[in-house]
Amino acid sequence: MSKDIRIKKGLNINLIGAAEQTTSKAVLSNVYALNLDDFHGITPKMLVKQGAEVKAGEPLFYNKNKEDMFFVSPVSGELVEIIRGARRKILTLKILADKTQEYLEHKTINIEKSDAESIKTFLLQSGGWSFLKQRPYDIIANPEITPKAIFISGYTTAPLAADANYVLNGKEAELQAAISALGKLTPGQVHVSVGGAGNSPLEKLDGITLHKVSGPHPAGLVGTQINKIDPINKGEVAWTVTPQDLVIIGELLLTGKFNAERIIALAGSVVKAPKYYSTKIGAEISTFLYGSGVNQDKFRLINGDVLTGSKTHPEGYLGFYNNTVTAIPEGDDYEFFGWNKPVFNKISSTRALTFSWMQPKKKYDLDTNTNGEHRAFVVTGLYEDVFPLDIYPLQLLKACMVKDLDEMEQLGLYEVAPEDFSLTEFICISKQPHQQIIREGLDLLHQEIG
């Protein structure tokens, strides 16, 4: 029962500095780090002490609320530092990598013959579970709840993001293993979406419901696809997982080793030679950033794509879920009469003396300037043009801002993740922080309703 999805509402943000499709090996990083902010909503309990030697794939900490959910080290080495913040909250774990990597070897399981329970236990123990996210709430999946379906997006529309087709090339065996295993965890379907070009390694897999997606961003966001395929109702749970994380899960199932290696895109107009690098989760960004070089000193380095990523710096580390690192110019400069001059070099969703509508294919060099100050919501009707979900975005945002739980539920907060509001945030004339508003709304709903 395949269903093709055609998205009409949206906006493609074409930026300069797309990664060239060649992969280099990044310099080995000395130190690898896990940033615990990546695991939203998890309260970590350490399993090893500072200074302990760990193998790659050895558990570092577990989830205090689900004690059998382990989070593992991407590399083998010494846990050199536990950085804590206010109220001793653990922020970052740093591991000094060994010269030769040793892997903790799990006993592989036979996927065909295993039941859901043993696959679940295997993933929870081996750290593979941390890649499974659930909706509602956009958090790591709760192993106690059976999902109604699993959604995987293999279609890339986010600006400068790593192309799923390219990075998955040659990984069919791992993908198939992961899909077969995950398929056993849900009585529903495993929905996989790919672009229309027909060159995705995901297309030929067994045990999936394939969807061809076309249209502008956010067609590639899994939230858009869920809304079009099988929207989430109150009480339902769906899982999402990115195809690149499927590769790690697949390898874990096939070999018993947690191999944190992944191919990432280094992109952005600041990068001299934007291209793909093979590196590991948690690697220091400078190990590949300076391989390509940068063409200016003041730039914004982003762990992820420009719409949803988090701010970092060259000494920062590759995020747990990221396969894109973007560098764009900082925009902390004034512009003389910037509010009334005709604008040719920035993207706009209106035509108010802004001319990006004339050249939809043109590539832009956007910086981090907000192009205006924060205001109350004034203009209406623009979000709807780039928001393909069957949800009223403005009304939902307002419900979150006033913390009206009933409204939040009724207007469909269960169906969305912050990233679904990245495009409305981009075009917002009042420069409101949409993703933050939605994140806080989700956290509140999770806390109150569970």
């Binding site: 059976t146 910037g338 604008v343």
Partner: protein, 418 residues
Amino acid sequence: MKEKLHQIKLKYRGKKMAPAFNAIHTFLYSPNETTHSGSHVRSADDLKRTMNTVIMALVPCLLFGIFNAGYQHYSAINGFPAEFSLFEHFLTWENFWLGAITVLPIVIVSYGVGLAIEFIFAVIKGHEVEEGYLVTGMLVPLIVPVDTPLWMLAVAVAFGVVIGKEVFGGTGMNILNPALTIRAFLFFAYPTWMSGDKVWVHGAKEGVTQAGSADAISGETVLGYLAQGSTEFSYSLSDMFYGFIPGSVGETSTVLILLGGLFLVFSKIASWRIMLSAVIGSLAMGLIFNGIVAAEWIPEYSKFYGLMNFEYWQHLLVGGLAFGIVFMATDPVTGSQTNRGKWIYGFLIGFMSVMIRVFNPGYPEGVFLAILLMNVFAPTIDHYVVRGNIKRRMKRLKTATIHPKVTDGVEALKTETV
């Protein structure tokens, strides 16, 4: 200059007067603010640009209003030219000068008083000066009679900005359109200055006399003539369309309003849904009235006959209907916020405007009352539109597949009811 202003900004950061300085600073330079959370890049539009676009659409109406003020004044004295020529009779220095000295003071008072109050509130409340008044301040001079005393205007603006907007929390929070609140205040507080045949032409109130006669000049709007049951006005359809008729300063030229409206629709700043549905609504009401006349349900001596008999589509050419539809009904803050709601909201504005215009006993105009009324109902319209979405979601919920928690055991299999 750029560096100096930056230093001053840093120096005054957190001080009481910072919002006032920032307002001027951001007027000169768009700020150096960068993104902190969420999307790292943002689109080029901000509220200043949005408001500026509306002002650009209004400038032709203002310029036309200036010339028309002079043209109406001199024509009332000397009689209308027999053979009208645009450059000989309308776009003259004489007209412009007279218009400028009557209209520009209104613009200055409107902006001066309004912005002063905005600045004071921003400093007291410690938020940035918001851009909403840039448009309001431009709208106000265009919707008042040319001879409105400046002190009245100042009082009305103060009332409108404080009661119409700031008490609700400023731009984006108000329920009623501030410009129309100002207009309504003037209308109800000083009706003799807002209606009748003596207010639409400069000098009529002071008793300037016609050339070669002792009679004072006067100028009745087309709607005024119709309300009196008279169809003996000398304005042709093209006069009405191009705007060479008496009326509030900026509302007369339907052609320039139309161009402004097209510009706003093209630039995606104003909602085409509201404009189109309001036009449809006014045509519908006009047709109903025409139908009543055609069916001879009302006698010719009825005082509504004149306005009811007025050709339905010509309602758009006279009075403030076109101006209200393009520039006032489309105010996103006070209007309907959902796309479907906009259709209903616009339609009702057009419908009500013509209805009030015909049935208003004292003053043959109803656009501002209709829009204010619909401002109040816009949240209700949105509420029902959004309910539709919620209902759809509730319906879907019935087919939800909710799996029990593993720990709950089998008997816990039950669907949650909402």
